[in-house]
Symmetry: C2
């Protein structure tokens, strides 16, 4: 089962399938068809089948997929079998919210450092035996604690500087919440989260239904 | 230009195209092809063309789309021409972060009420001439301030109760950040934001590149 050359939209959908299959498993469903997944997510069954086919044939025609092994297979592809260490850069409200976000731990992401440049914040104790640390010590902290992923929750103005520091420190991937386009070398993976996209999509649905 | 019967994945992509075209406009680009948009977003040009074709023919073959009119057209479809009033239910760290999220205002979403059930929080002044108000007064507040959209940032346990209250109060749409499946009547639109999806997608990309 190899996942190279998988298009990015497929990767994103795989992460969504994973969550969907997880929920079905929690409900005790033992098998699931591409049609089931497609219906739940508002996609075409042919799309779901095609996405899963990048990784070989999981399902049996007419029977569907065994829920647990589908979950395990997608999980392996997505890297859910391992544990990821995370640092958060910028401990404002959003940074605090993420430091206490249980869904991250459930997905295998463990917050191991909270960094800020505000001397009033440095030293404040935080849940999980952490405290807010000086962003100046980033490189050392990342190396010592084997941190894989950096989360950017600083302002747009400070985002690129923070990213450059993360890259210098040998980070593998970055999640960006700052509303700005960031430059990273090809070796570092980047995901951007724009919360306003969901708001716009909701506005569209309300708009349509009120016509 | 009618948008009824547009599949939900297309709606979501439209919201993303909107942001992409907005950025191109800010850079001073006067025209844009479906190929340009597709490349920027990692989609197929044929997909972009198909999505936009639901709304009639914006573009000219070989020339592409006029950036500004494409932006205006998508914006109209998405309901960006109007102003949406928002209330946030649950003023923890995430609620506070959203109350101060400039990208929302830029997209036409104005936070008009911050509700919580914690008597220690009620009355605390907040930016934008707001203060934290009692969730018990939700119905009155929603009617008086013409609030269209409710944002759920309470815990998973409290989410459905809050949603039921929003629905009773005549809300049009709900954005859910709580990690739980919510039930709403068909007349109320619902968008769920699961931040862990982006983390999982990043993990997959790191996983692949390290093989």
């Amino acid at each position: 089962m190899d996942g190279s050359n998988v298009p990015k939209p497929t990767v994103k959908r795989l992460a969504i399938y994973y969550r969907c299959v997880e929920k079905l498993m929690e409900k005790g469903k033992e098998s699931v068809s591409s049609q089931d997944i497609a219906l739940k997510l508002g996609l075409k069954a042919s799309q779901v089948r095609k996405d899963l086919s990048y990784f070989g044939e999981f399902g049996k025609r007419g029977v569907g997929y065994d829920t647990e092994s589908l979950f395990d297979n997608i999980g392996e592809i997505l890297g859910m079998k391992r544990r990821w260490n995370v640092c958060i850069v910028g401990i404002g409200n959003l940074g605090l919210a993420l430091a206490n976000y249980p869904a991250l731990t459930r997905s295998g992401f463990y917050v191991k450092a909270l960094l800020d440049n505000d001397t009033n914040k440095i030293g404040i104790p935080m849940p999980g035996d952490l405290y807010i640390e000086d962003v100046k010590d980033m490189k050392e902290i990342i190396k010592k604690r084997n941190i894989d992923v950096g989360v950017i929750t600083v302002t747009a103005d400070n985002a690129q500087t923070s990213v450059d520091k993360l890259v210098e420190s040998g980070i593998k991937g970055i999640i960006n919440f700052a509303p700005v386009k960031l430059a990273v070398p090809k070796s570092v993976k980047l995901e951007e989260i724009d919360i306003s996209v969901a708001f716009r999509s909701l506005a569209f649905q309300i708009n349509l239904s009120s016509r």
